[in-house]
Each structure stands twice: as C-alpha cells, then as structure tokens.
C-alpha cells in the first residue's frame, strides 16, 4: 500500500464520529497536562492504559496520540506566561517566551508557538507518512560515536545562552553537569552522588530542576528584592501577531521543523536537542535589527524556532515506533505496551499486519493537529489575561502550581526538598548574575554525552580515534567546530572589511 492510499484509508476510519470524539478528548487532556509542570504525556497515557480493556484499539491509540501532541502544545503555555516549563521540550521556549511576555508580547508569543506547533506538527506528520521508513534506516546508521558528536554540537549552543560573562556561564554549565551525574551509572550500575538517599538513585528529574531554576528561583528572588515595591501589573499588550511577527516567524518555523523531525526519529534523539540547536541557529541567523531583542525584550524567532522543533520532533518519535516497533521515548514505550494488551506485537511488520490501525493513527494525527490549533488559538487571549493578576498573587500561584506539579512527578518529599533547595540556589544565581539556562543544558546533555562516549569507547575497545575515523562522526565534529569558531572568525573578518 502506498502512502496516498494509506492516508485515504486512514482518513476514512478516523473521520468517524466516535474516533473524532477520542481525538478531541485526547487533545483536550493533552493540553491540560502539558500546562501542568511535572505530569507529562508518558504518565498520562500510562494512567489511561486501563481503558484498553474496554475501548477498541483504534479509539485508544487516537486518544493516546491526541494526548501526546496536545502535551507539546500545552507545554509552551506556562513556559511563556509563567517562565515554568511544563515538559522538557519546552525548557528552551521559556528563554525568549517569558521575556516576550514580560515586555507585553505574551499574545504574539503564544500565537507563534501555537501556529508554529501546527505547522511543524503537520510537516512532521507528513514526514511520518511519506519519509518514515527511509529516515529511520538512515538513523540506524548512527552509532554511539555519532551521538556523542551530536551532543558535542549541542554543547556549542551553550555559548548562545552564556550571558555577559563566560566564566559565570560555564560555572552554571558545570553545576548542571554535576546535577546530571546524580544517580545509578548506566554503564556500571554503581550509585553516584546519592549519599544513601534511595530517591536519588534514579537521578534528579530534569523538569524538576527547570521548574526550580526558572519559577521557584525567580519567585524567591522577587520576594527577596521587592519587599516594598509598588504593585505592578504587567501589560498584556496586543493578542494578535502583526504582519511583521508572521514574517519573522515563518522561516524559524520551517527551520525548526526541519531540525526537529530527524532528531525525533533518532533512536537516542528526543525533543530537547533540536530545541537547543534551533534556538542557537535563530540567534545566529536573526536579522541584525532584531538581534538585540534576544535575551532582553524577547525575540519572537527564539520562540517560533524551538516550538516548531519540539513538535516536529514529537512527530519524529513516532516513526521508529511505527516502522520498527522501537520504543525510543518513555511515551512510545507505554504506547507499545498498550499494543501488547491488544495482543498486537509491535515490530517491523506492524505497517503490513496492522495497516488499518497504523494509517488511521497517522490520519488522526493530522486531525489532532487541526483540533489543537483551533482549541489553542482562542485560548491565547484567555491565557494571556493571567498576567493581569498582580505580581505577588501571580508568583504565589506559580509557587503553588510548581509545588503540586513536582509532587505529582513521584509523590516524593525528597523531590520537594530538591525543588526548594535548587530554587534557593537559583535565587542566588539571579542575585549574582549567573545565567540559569546552561544548568539545564548541562543537565540534559551531560548524562547523554557521557553514556554515548563510553558506549563508543567500549565498542572501539578504548580507541579514541573512533570519533574521527567514522565519516558521519567526523562531519558532525567539524560542524561543531565551525559553529563554535565560525561566528568569531566572521566577526573578525567583518571588522577588517569595514576598517
């Protein structure tokens, strides 16, 4: 069956009233849980697993995919409005998004992320339907050596968020790498930096750290510095995107989608790496007249790109699951276990043996995407009004929200101690001008890079040349070097040319 026939068949099934109902329910649920920090799509789908006993396979998977896509839309809302990322793919969105909201541009920020999510989600879903099997074969060519080089490339993006002082930024990065070390080491099974606390054996949750650094840290800092300040209500500003906003968002959407999809397909990829790369790329490619908006009043490119990347990656994650039966993310793993409770063994034959189910699923992803943008755009005005709440109350609310969300991750008091402990550290980081974004980047990339490097070296029997003798690995390494040195060399050249 070719992709066009498959899609026709899929839409035929997906457009039934009950399946549309499941899609709508999934989108709604997904948006809701995406908004709440801590509870992600994986946990939600796991909690919905019992419905597989009573609902048809098609209905259940349409619901699950709605939740999955919905969470990617919802996650950006709190990132932008409250500087509190709902899930790890939205952490980068908070960088520019929250600054836009602070300078009265919450509406356009939310709108560009919703529309960008729609554009990238559609591009990604088209990718699943037409390119899936080809891209996944290419992805299999990448081994641990290439993954390590991809992480090296992503580390370059830290330079975009270092702030004024490289020393302070690298200190933050070091703190993130340190946090990433906590837990049982994958390659030896030995506990590191756990201090005998069993809850630390599984490491520190990255969303928890992001919430602590962004939301708790900022709240505590404001409470500390603004004791007697006048009640300031933030301006909400215009809700709509201007013509200029559209123009500035379009290419970041496209580039974000182009970056995100292949990273999602990579078996050890995920949604975080492409958002970092997209942010870095937009920051470097932005027109000079908007360059100063990055890190100050918030640049719309820095929201549009990463948001598109994160949604396209979410679509990409479904590719190895549907074409090879590989669970490459927590959410995919739980969806695969749902296949098993229907007696369907997910594997490379899924596309042939369960063609009806797979194509209905893909078709319902298109439908879910449309539903989500229709559901989310009118909400932009409503959400943006949250900012009319006076600051003390708003931040008190954020603190409650962050605490509940964190407790929801694992019902553990240890997590709450961590949340406030890291929050207090973040408060001092703000006071002394240390950027917090490198902490998150170090924490996400550190463990991934460490494992990829050690896997590569185990396979090569300790021979370091593996990173330069494998062609793809070498190419990525050279790209990383170019990304690091290129802008500086260009700067030197430009100065000379003008002088």
């Amino acid at each position: 069956m070719n992709a066009i026939d498959g899609l026709m068949l899929g839409f035929g099934h997906a457009l039934s009233l009950s399946n549309l109902g499941w899609a709508l329910l999934g989108c709604f649920l997904g948006t809701a849980i995406g908004v709440l920090p801590g509870i992600g799509p994986a946990l939600t789908i796991a909690l919905l697993l019992p419905i597989t006993f009573s609902v048809s396979a098609t209905g259940a998977f349409i619901l699950f995919c709605g939740v999955f896509y919905g969470a990617m839309y919802g996650g950006s809302t709190t990132s932008i409005l409250l500087n509190t990322p709902g899930e790890s793919g939205s952490i980068i969105t908070a960088l520019e998004g929250a600054k836009m909201a602070r300078s009265g541009r919450a509406g356009p920020a939310l709108a560009t992320s919703a529309i960008g999510s729609f554009v990238a989600g559609t591009v990604g879903t088209l990718g699943i339907a037409f390119l899936g099997p080809i891209v996944v074969e290419l992805a299999l060519q990448l081994g641990p050596a290439e993954y390590f080089m991809l992480m090296v490339l992503c580390f370059v993006t830290v330079s975009a968020v270092l702030g004024g002082s490289a020393l302070r930024g690298l200190t933050s990065l070091g703190f993130g790498l340190l946090l990433g070390l906590v837990g049982v080491d994958l390659q030896t099974g030995q506990p590191r930096l756990t201090f005998g606390v069993p809850e630390l054996l599984d490491g520190v949750n990255v969303v928890l750290v992001a919430v602590a650094l962004f939301a708790v840290g900022e709240t505590l800092y404001l409470a500390w510095r603004h004791v007697e300040g006048p009640a300031v209500v933030r301006p909400v500003g215009s809700i709509m995107m201007t013509r200029q906003d559209w123009r500035r968002s379009f290419w970041p959407w496209m580039r974000g989608a182009g970056l995100g999809f292949p990273f999602g397909v990579l078996p050890a990829g995920g949604t975080e790496m492409p958002t970092m790369l997209s942010y870095y790329m937009e920051r470097k490619l932005v027109r000079p007249e908007h360059a100063e908006e990055f890190g100050t009043s918030g640049a719309i490119e820095g929201v549009a790109g990463p948001e598109a990347a994160n949604n396209a990656a979410a679509a990409g994650v479904l590719v190895p699951m549907l074409t090879l039966g590989l669970p490459t993310s927590a959410t995919a793993a739980i969806m695969l276990s749902a296949f098993q409770s229907y007696g369907i063994q997910p594997g490379p034959l899924l596309f042939t043996t369960q063609a009806d189910l797979v194509w209905t699923l893909i078709a319902s992803l298109f439908i879910a995407n449309v539903m989500l943008v229709v559901l989310n755009l009118p909400l932009v005005g409503l959400w943006a009004r949250i900012l009319k709440i006076p600051q003390p109350q708003l931040y008190a609310g954020i603190l409650v929200f962050a605490t509940i969300g964190t407790y929801g991750i694992s019902n553990s008091v240890v997590d709450l101690v961590l949340l406030y402990g890291i929050g207090i550290i973040a408060m001092f980081m703000r006071r002394f001008d240390f950027p917090v974004a490198p902490v998150v980047i170090g924490m996400i990339l550190g463990p991934m890079a460490e494992n990829a490097m050690r896997q590569a070296l185990t396979i090569s029997q300790g021979d370091w040349s593996v990173f330069v003798t494998r062609p793809i690995s070498l190419v990525i390494l050279l790209l990383a070097l170019a990304a690091l040195a290129g802008p500086r060399l260009y700067g030197v050249w430009a100065r000379r040319a003008s002088a």
Binding site: L142, T188, L326, A330, A333, I459, Q461
Partner: protein, 322 residues
C-alpha cells in the same frame, strides 16, 4: 451531626450489603494494596494490573489500591514499601530478577531479601541475537568469537549488572574466559539497544525474548540461542542443549510486607494460588505472551535464595559487586 451519623450508618450498611454479595463469590480479601516499584506501563506494572483484573473478574478481592514508585531497578520503591507496609497482611509488592541484581550493585541498605516471598508468576527467557548482516551465523560462531577475543565482540543490552549482562558474564565464565573481559554496552531502555543492533553498531545483543522476537520474525535480526529450559522460538536452540549450562530468565513475582505472621503469609499464598487458577488469569497470560512460571511459598523462597547467591557471585566475577 445527626445527619452525618445517619449517613455513615447508611454507607456502612451499603458496604456490608456489598460485602455479603461479593462474599458469595468467595472473596478472600476486602482490600488489597499493590505496590509497583516501577513506573506505570512497564513489565511489573503489567503484572500488578493483571492480578487486579483477574481478581476482579473472579470476585476474589473487594477493592484495589495501587502505588507506583519507579526508579533504579525497583530500589527507589522497595525501601518505601518496607517502611510503610511493615506487618500489613493485605499488601503485595511486585518484583523480580531485576531487583535482585540492582540491590547488589546499588549497595542499598535494604534488599529483596527483606520482603517475604509469596509467588513467582511469570518468567521470560533471554535471547542472544546478531544483526541480520552479521557473519556470525550460529551460536558456535558467536562463542568462538567470544573465546578468541571478548573485547572485540561488543554485546548490547540493558543497564549494567542486569540479566542481559549476567548472561554474558556466565557465558564467558563457561567458555573459560574472565567475566571482566566482557565488552558489554549498556543502553537505557529497549529502543536504543535494538537500534544499535539493527544498525550493526555492535556485534550482538542480549535481551528478553519478547523484545526481539518481532525483529527476528521480520528477518532484521538473527536469533542464535535462547536461555530458557526449553526452546522459546522455533528452530532456535537453547544454550543448555548447545552445551552451555546456563538457564536464565527474567522472572516476575509477588512479595509480602516484612513482619507478617505465618498465617498472613499463608493467606496471601492461598490468594495468589486462587488468582493463578482463574480462567481470566490464563487468558491474560496467553494474550500477553507470558510464560507461566508459577512457583509458590517455600519452594519460591528457596529459589529466591539460590538466585540471590548466584547473582551475587556473577556480579562479583564481572566486578560490579564487592
């Protein structure tokens, strides 16, 4: 005040009616607390929910309560179960082989020996595969390669010290090599490990049969051997019949809280035996493709002791335990 008291009385009456109705279906427990030391959706969670489903269908238990505390092969949840449920006769912990090894390598103060073994329910043999393009055609090719140069024969599997790693360590020992020489590449989760094997990034891979069987059927991986007592896949030999004396499986079972009396333990054993006998349980085992490995009471306790001692020995050989 009065109204509330009436309400309580009324609800108690309703509950009693409900109880007596269910009692006819030979209810064994009013309520059962099932503690899963892993996140929802995984193998242990699946076993816990299957126990619930079979019990409900047969009316063996009035109500169920679940708690999931995941992480580090069950070692995050285990201490919580031990401290919070001590002496409680209606609490069950889901656990298995993974927990035995994790407790040894993680050096946690509590281990699976601190809970009361009730029953082993299922077991899944391991499988050794190579990429479809590999020039290792048979198990003998693979063992020869291992024997000649273990360092050059990279093998992918789950986290270090887990069953996959233990199988490789045992094989090396049987082949007269040192288990420490293993070139074992640990991957987080089944997806990345499978991708590394499919892409021929490693020479071979070890995991549970169900993880790889679809890839083998589709011809993308070649199965060399399985690790059960009998064959799990048609045409694929077991290690035992090939002259390598290893029988290993990822077993999953149920444990009671520490400090329960002999009578309470007996009640749990009787309950689990009743669940195992229900048609609903048999049906679940067939749809999920699980291997029934029912072993109960003292026999299971003895099995546990042996398993713990063997695992500890291998992990010491590999160099992950002291």
């Amino acid at each position: 005040m009065t109204s509330r008291r009436t309400l309580i009385a009324a609800s108690a009456g309703l509950a009693a009616m409900g109880l007596s109705r269910r009692a006819m279906a030979q209810q064994l427990f009013d309520s059962m607390f099932i503690f899963v030391p892993a996140g929802p959706g995984g193998g242990w969670d699946g076993l816990g929910r299957a126990i619930e489903q079979a019990s409900r269908t047969a009316g063996l238990v009035g109500s169920f309560q679940f708690e999931n505390v995941g992480g580090a092969g069950g070692m995050v949840g285990l201490p919580r179960f031990i401290s919070q449920r001590r002496g409680r006769g209606n609490a069950l912990l889901v656990g298995g082989a993974v927990m035995v090894g994790a407790g040894i390598t993680n050096r946690t103060p509590v281990s699976i020996r601190d809970v009361v073994p009730i029953a082993r329910m299922t077991s899944e043999p391991g499988i050794i595969v190579v990429p479809a393009s590999s020039d290792l055609r048979t198990l003998a090719d693979f063992t020869n390669a291992l024997k000649a140069n273990p360092g050059a024969t990279s093998v992918a599997g789950g986290s270090a010290g887990g069953i996959d790693h233990i199988i490789l360590g045992l094989m090396l020992k049987q082949l007269g090599r040192n288990a420490r020489e293993a070139s074992y590449v640990a991957f987080a989760g089944g997806g990345p490990a499978q991708a590394a094997i499919l892409g021929a990034q490693v020479k071979a891979g070890i995991s549970g049969v169900s993880e790889f069987s679809e890839q083998v059927k589709a011809g993308r991986m070649r199965a060399l051997a399985t690790t059960g007592e009998t064959r799990s896949l048609e045409g694929v030999p077991t290690l035992k019949e090939s002259g390598i004396d290893i029988v290993m499986g990822n077993w999953r079972g149920l444990f009671g809280a520490p400090g329960i009396s002999a009578a309470q333990r007996q009640a749990l054993v009787a309950y689990v035996t009743a669940v195992h006998a229900t048609p609903a349980w048999r049906e679940i085992v067939t749809t999920r493709g699980w291997d029934d490995a029912f072993l109960v009471g003292d026999a299971f306790a003895q099995f546990m002791q042996r398993d713990h001692a063997d695992t500890e020995q291998v992990l010491r050989d590999i160099g992950l335990a002291s």
